[in-house]
Amino acid sequence: MSMATAQAQTVGRENYLNKEYGVVSWLLTTDHKRIALLYLLSITFFFFIGGFFALLIRLELLTPAGDLVQADTYNKLFTMHGMVMVFFFLIPSIPAVLGNFLVPLMIGAKDLAFPRINLLSWYLYIIGGVMMLHCMLTGGVDTGWTFYTPFSTAFTNTKIVEAGLSIFVVGFSSILTGLNFVVTIHRMRAPGMTWSRLPLFIWAHYATSIIQLLGTPVIAITTVLVAVERTLHLGIFDPKLGGDPLLFQHLFWFYSHPAVYIMILPAMGVVSEIIACFSRKRIFGYSFVAFSSIAIAVFGFLVWAHHMFVAGISVYAALVFSLLSYAVAVPSAVKVFNWTATLYKGSIHYDAPMLYAFGFVGLFTMGGLTGLFLAALGIDVHVTDTYFVIAHFHYIMVGGAVMGYLGGMHFWWPKISGKLYPEGWAKLAALIVFIGFNLTFFPQFVLGYLGMPRRYYDYSHMPEFQVLNVLSTAGATILGVGYLLPMVYFLWSMRYGKPASDNPWNAAGLEWKTASPPPTFNFDEEPVVTWEAYNYDELDTGHKQEVHVVG
């Protein structure tokens, strides 16, 4: 499909971007679309910080000797990489940027239910972010993002308490966003927008919000308990003080496993929108895809101890958690099958967002399938805490979530900015990301099965691991280019891009029925929904008739 050129009526119209100017109008805005852009700037900033750490990690591992940085520096690098990427990029990425922008638009609302709380959650994010930056600049943390006790509470002398409080604060930002979405989706749908007409993006965000609301308080409590044990020496996790180190792991993973679904569910929502649009079809098995999101959110809370099979839990506990982990794999598989089936007898376009969606399906499939290896008890014993795990969760959290995020950014960029990005460059970037990603992380599966443990900065006694590490570092360089490109051409398009029409993809969904960029209150009149989600048959037959008339 070629992008339609701008329509005259959109030029010069008042929209959320040009309504007011000046820093204050942005910092005090309660417009969900402006807050989404504030998040976009902030998470991009943290993405490049986290990416810089990743680059240094990969450079250190290019040679077996620990020569580029010292051991302590390396330990801080992977800790900071993990904390920044998880808490300051991946968790807010799609919900806080695309979700913030699109949830009200997609359901036909003027804004989120609590616009001021929405702004508050951005400020909490910024406060947490500044604390994290301060923590990093004044020494950092070296425990790994997992903070395992008693190392974190009694042995390291790095800035645990400050990092923990930063995560505590940013956690509330996540909770408030989730709360806002749940209330908005329940209470502010336009007339006719029934639950069964909701876009799957909304279903995915609803499921995500439930996890944010129920899971995040647990990590907040856990960081406080770590701080309390560290400062007041109350025995909670440290066996020397009468505590139990496994209690920490249970609490930590009770949040941090569902957190993976906070990252991947919204990406699944994005992919459902893109595949429907570029196949010109209703998503195959709409209700199964919708309810599989809810099933993932619920089952996701019941599998946390699969991170602890060799940690010292009982054999029988391990059995139960292994079985439940396979249960949560079913709804994920159902989604992949439904997306594939949607392509059948479609009318498929290869625009850049669709290439990212294809990339997502490929990488998520591989990430999900390698999860089956890790959930198998007998294999997990060998591969846990090796590069196999690293590769697996990067396939899900980077291959899956970031691919989804980039696909969504391309799909909705014309709506967000009112400008078209250069299509050729966008396709090239999608290809580079896919190739670079696989080259970076596929060798790590092999490394992991060979036995290379994670968090080793020096492997001079194991030179046999070098070839695969070199491949991985080479891939990371390519991947870095792939991530830089979209930032460059998105920025370029804001100034030089062609103006976008209201609906450049001829896509279904309320967000495309208003101007690009939308006015402050989204719709000039409250929309009334009389059609089902993904009514591409009506859109395309209408379009065809038009063509006939013109011809």
Partner: protein
């Protein structure tokens, strides 16, 4: 660099083959699954690419299909789960007559002590074909005992014992890694497992022993005065420890507990935690008074009291145990 480029780890223990077999099965299953999905995506994307004037055919969905692609994966997952559990049980259940090695992990080294008394640092000598059980604890943070060639890994925790076992099947030297991040020199907390033919192993074993671990335990037992309360008869202020190990112990309040390594360890460090029925909580704590190595020796001694004939001491028994081992290894 290119000359040394393995893609599959060495296989040197009795469970390694089981793990590899399941791993290969999973590679095949997931390979087929990936192929199926990729083939469908590529075929559909090419076959149904946009052609002017050709509309997509709207399909609502299909309950039979949804059930098919839910139930078939569920069944396959069930097989993988079951197979994985069987392998896991084998990895996790040490044979009853395994030779014991006490492992103390600390930042950043492995200290290993054979039941026969040999001590090693970052190196463990074992013979081919013998079951070896490691009883492990940490002096500081959590570590993880990982031997890739044996496909085994077990976290090592402070304040309690965890157990792992293996039977080496091939002589050679294999990597020992710490797999749980433990601080600055985590990547330096590595060592070797030296698997030897039984004859070589016996030769190594005969050099430099300070006597069996249980004998050191007996000495510590006497030095700390344990022997005054834990007497060989029923007259002591504390329970008689003869024949205790592995038995059910009736506690105050009617609960019972199995007298395993963790129970004995806890009873030394925190005697008030589990009071044996009929005894007063009179024992002082030895927290901070005994090192991890001394604790291991005491546990070994208490275990010895259950294996030996009444009145036998570890120092007298060691000669016959050595002879047994020598005999056993010849058979193997």
């Amino acid at each position: 660099m290119i000359n040394n480029f393995p893609l599959w780890p060495e296989r040197a223990s009795s469970v390694a083959g089981n793990v590899d077999a399941l791993f290969i099965f999973l590679l095949i299953v997931s390979g087929l699954m990936t192929l199926l999905i990729f083939a469908c995506v590529v075929y559909f994307a090419a076959r149904y690419r946009y052609r002017p004037g050709v509309l997509a055919e709207q399909i609502e969905g299909s309950l039979p299909l949804e059930l098919t692609w839910s139930i078939i994966p569920l069944f396959v997952f069930g097989v993988i789960f079951f197979w994985g559990a069987v392998v896991f049980f084998k990895e996790r259940t040490p044979p009853a007559d395994a030779t014991e090695v006490y492992v103390v992990a600390k930042q950043w080294m492995w200290k290993l002590e054979h039941a026969e008394g040999q001590r090693e640092i970052n190196e463990l000598h074992v013979p081919v074909g013998r079951d070896v059980k490691m009883i492990m604890t940490s002096q500081d943070v959590i570590h993880s005992f990982f031997i890739p060639a044996f496909r085994i890994k077990q976290d090592v925790l402070p304040g309690r014992y965890t157990v792992a076992w293996f039977r080496a099947t091939k002589s050679g030297t294999y990597h020992l890694f710490c797999a749980e991040y433990c601080g600055t020199q985590h990547s330096g907390m590595i060592g070797s497992i030296v698997v030897q033919e039984p004859a070589q192993y016996e030769a190594w074993m005969n050099g430099g022993s300070t006597g069996p671990l249980s004998a050191s335990g007996e000495k510590i037992f006497a030095e700390l005065g344990c022997v005054t309360c834990h007497r060989n008869d029923s007259q002591g202020r504390g329970p008689n420890l003869q024949g205790l190990f592995g038995k059910q112990v009736l506690l105050e309040g009617g609960r019972t507990v199995t007298a395993d390594e963790n129970y004995i360890r806890e009873s030394i460090l925190d005697p008030g935690a589990k009071i044996v029925n009929g005894y007063k909580p009179a024992m002082p704590t030895f927290q901070g008074l005994v090192s991890e190595e001394q604790l291991n020796a005491l546990v070994a001694y208490v275990k010895f009291l259950s294996e030996a004939k009444p009145g036998q001491t570890p120092s007298k028994a060691s000669a016959s145990t050595d002879a047994q081992h020598a005999k056993g290894s010849q058979v193997e």
